[in-house]
């Protein structure tokens, strides 16, 4: 097992660099999965838009009433009434709707004039249309009362309007079976794992492969009384152990981060799927290790490979946001199927064979990619050997 031992000596030397990578990627993965949206889908909850409410009019009862009503359907974001602050907030969608009540608005409404709230929105966005709806609803109801009761006080008006606008339609949530699985965050974590696994395994494995593929070293090794097949087998064993340890480490982290969510049946399938993908990543790094000659090329290739695959196949940007063309292209990458399997697993609540079979299908495709890539790599390495280089 000399080769095997040497393998881990090399790894040991590179441990510093590799652990920096693992550390950075983990930090990013954690942040990434915490910033991702979580949605509970068991009860109907009304979406709320983010509104900046600026009142330049007097603090009238009418405006207070309106503010309370709008506040029930949206989230108020406190922002200073300065043009650039508001503009920034709108650009980064910290607010969806800036509602500015102009001077004399209350008086105008009471007098029956067509006073208007000044809104600043991303034109045509769904959230702005919804908020418009709320505003118009409130003041149209106000107008209705005003035109029927000439001498109504503001208190009375606000009370009446609030009473009417309290009426709500009954909404029924259609259940598609049992309670759905609560796997919001870990799904994103496992998707992101694709990036970490590719980067770390490609860097680690290819740097070792580069050592063994060094022409002079290789020639010398071939002279030794160890069979070539044995050498290759030992390297392969080392590769598999290295990748498995990386995978185990990341799974360990996921257990620390998401204890509750990891003790579900879904999590078991997440783990299986990520292990299958680890094998695919290993096959990629095997190929990379054969193709590249210098350390400089190594970081370039590993970056382009990991970023490219992850961008295209929905690791960074969820698949539902990608355009059809990109998805069509992504189908030729293993990451696409990895993410697809994860998304399916995340939605599973009933683990019947019927529901699971597409997931297994996707895993098989990942393995298929692995086999194909390894075959290419073997052909390449044979050809290299025959050429004597």
């Amino acid at each position: 097992m000399q080769v095997f031992r040497i393998y881990f000596k090399i790894i040991k030397k590179q441990l510093g660099q590799l652990s920096i990578y693992i550390g950075v990627f983990l930090a990013m993965a954690i942040m990434f999965s915490f910033t991702s949206p979580t949605s509970s889908i068991d009860d109907f909850t009304q979406s709320k838009t983010r509104v900046a409410f600026i009142n330049e009019d007097e603090n009238s009862i009418l405006i207070e009433g309106f503010k309370e009503y709008l506040g029930n359907h949206s989230v108020y974001v406190p922002i200073q009434n300065e043009m650039d602050k508001l503009q920034d907030a709108l650009f980064f969608r910290d607010v969806d709707y800036i509602a500015k009540i102009p001077m004399g608005f209350t008086k105008g409404i009471i007098a029956g004039k067509n006073s208007q709230i000044e809104k600043t929105v991303v034109s045509g966005s769904t959230s702005s249309i919804y908020t418009d709806m709320l505003v118009n609803k409130y003041f149209n109801t106000v107008k209705l009362y005003l035109s029927s009761y000439k001498d109504i006080t503001q208190e009375e008006l606000v009370k009446q309007v609030a009473k009417d606008l309290k009426i709500e339609t009954k909404v029924q949530m259609k259940r598609t079976g049992e309670k759905s699985a609560n796997t919001g965050n870990i799904k994103y974590f496992f998707n992101y794992l694709a990036y970490v696994l590719i980067s770390v395994i490609v860097l680690g494995v290819s740097s070792i492969m580069m050592v063994f593929n060094n022409t002079n070293l290789r020639r010398r090794n071939l002279c030794s009384p160890i069979k070539n097949a044995s050498i290759n087998l030992q390297i392969l064993l080392g590769n598999i152990i290295f990748s498995t340890v990386c995978w185990g480490l990341l799974i360990g982290v996921s257990f620390i981060l998401y204890r509750g969510q990891m003790l579900t049946t879904n999590a078991i399938y997440f783990c299986i799927n990520s292990f299958v993908f680890t094998l695919t990543a290993l096959s990629m790094s095997f190929l990379v290790g054969i193709l590249i000659k210098s350390r400089n090329a190594q970081s370039g290739i590993s970056n382009v490979l990991s970023l490219g695959l992850c961008f295209l196949s929905g690791v960074f940007v969820p698949q539902e946001f990608l355009s059809e063309n990109v998805l069509a292209m992504a189908k030729f990458t293993p990451t696409y199927w990895f993410v697809k399997a994860n998304n399916d697993i995340g939605n599973l609540s009933n683990f019947s064979m019927d529901n699971l079979s597409p997931v297994f299908m996707y895993m098989l495709i990942e393995l298929g990619f692995a086999v194909a890539i390894v075959s290419v790599a073997l052909v390449m390495s044979k050809r290299k050997q025959l050429k004597g280089s």
């Binding site: 910033t35 109907f44 909850t45 208007q116 000044e118 149209n140 209705l144 709500e168 370039g300």
Partner: protein, 380 residues
């Protein structure tokens, strides 16, 4: 002499394949990936008429008021709904297959059935609420004051007035927040220019490389060597950034606004900042080149992360909570300069950014010069 050193340095840089890859090819690849994946994001928030199904039963046909109300909501250019009149079974099926966001049944009251929560579903509910609420308002008015009906109450109900007026902020009606990602990309490419600075210092400090040791023996003023080297780096970087910029503008159709002069000025200053940043890091830190490269990559990535390259809103979060960080982060300043050109109709913010960037550049250059000048070595 200047041109002699300049042209030789130019050759040195262009032949460094790794350098050209990271400063030109890599940003181009990232730009392609960004635009392929981000192109749909900003389209997501635009409102599209919501597909709904209405169960066509007797109760619905009888409820003329509601029928008219729904018909009105599904007509015109800005219609809210695409209505599919159908049976209950069919509506269920449409909902299951995701063809509609929800379906409405009229029984003793109006019901809405949906599969999940979301803004579209909330809008459907809100519209139905509106109908019920108006009915309630009319009822309470009429019970209290029966004459209201003769005074045109129902006509008032029919006349919905618009109570909002659009006031546009900045230059864009629909500011696209995805452009920020591309701006940070240029910032990244500019800061990767720090590798040029690193290379120049390495090749001029006698204790860092053999080439520098040889160069130091030559009877040329060190400042001259340094300046011509940095100029060569700057020229290459500027060319690369221009290629990236034109790729973004012409091939990827990223919106940069239309103040071309100022856009180029930002690139110009950004390149200078990037190179001088590399120079100062290289001069201050007396370690191996690998360590310096790692520090530069780490610093560039952190700076880009804080200006929103990985998560767009990061820039805003930083500006809101730790504004000082936004003022000293060169990537944020470059990004913000482009942002100001894209979205602001006043130039103050743009010039603040350019001013701060130039300030940083001058400081970097001065410190570098003070460190590397007049160094002599008894033995290397």
């Amino acid at each position: 002499m200047f041109w002699h050193i300049f042209s030789n340095r130019l050759k040195c840089i262009i032949r460094d394949k790794q350098l050209v890859f990271w400063t030109l090819v890599f940003p181009l690849i990232l730009a392609t990936l960004f635009s392929m994946t981000l192109i749909n994001i900003s389209k997501q928030e635009a409102f599209k008429s919501i597909d709904i199904a209405v169960v066509n039963n007797e109760a619905y046909q009888k409820d003329v008021g509601f029928k008219n109300f729904l018909t009105e909501a599904s007509q015109g250019d800005n219609k809210l709904f695409n209505i599919n009149l159908t049976t209950k079974e069919e509506a269920e099926k449409l909902l299951d297959n995701g063809k509609v966001e929800g379906y409405i049944t009229v029984e003793t009251q109006i019901n809405l059935v949906v599969k999940n929560s979301g803004l579209n579903q909330t809008i459907i509910k809100s519209v139905l609420d509106e109908y019920n609420q108006t009915v309630s308002a009319v009822n309470s008015i009429v019970t209290d004051n029966p004459t209201a009906l003769q005074n045109g109450l129902l006509e008032d109900v029919g006349k919905r007035i618009e109570f909002t007026k659009n006031i546009q902020a900045g230059t864009k009606e629909k500011p696209d927040s995805a452009v920020n990602y591309f701006y940070t990309l240029i910032a990244m490419a500019c800061l990767y220019g720090s590798f040029f600075g690193l290379k120049e210092i390495t090749d001029i400090q006698a204790d860092l490389s053999k080439r520098a040791a040889r160069l130091n023996v030559a009877p040329v003023h060190k400042l001259k060597v340094l300046v011509s080297g940095l100029c060569a780096g700057f020229a290459v970087l500027l060319l690369e950034i221009s290629i990236l910029l034109s790729y973004l503008v012409f091939a990827m159709k990223v919106d940069f606004g239309d103040q071309i002069g100022y856009i180029l000025l930002t690139c110009f200053v950004g390149c200078a900042t990037g190179i001088s940043f590399g120079a100062i890091v290289s001069a201050i830190i007396k370690k191996r080149e690998g360590v310096k490269t790692a520090i530069l990559i780490g610093a560039t990535m952190t700076a880009c992360f804080l200006s929103g390259m990985m998560y767009g809103n990061m820039k805003y979060i930083v500006e809101k909570n730790v504004p000082i960080l936004a003022y000293i982060n060169p990537a944020a300043l470059i990004t913000d300069a482009f942002y100001a050109l894209y979205y602001y109709d006043t130039p103050t913010r743009f010039f603040t950014n350019i001013g701060l960037l130039s300030g940083l550049t001058v400081i970097f250059c001065l410190v570098t010069y003070l460190i590397i000048r007049r160094q002599k070595y008894a033995s290397i």
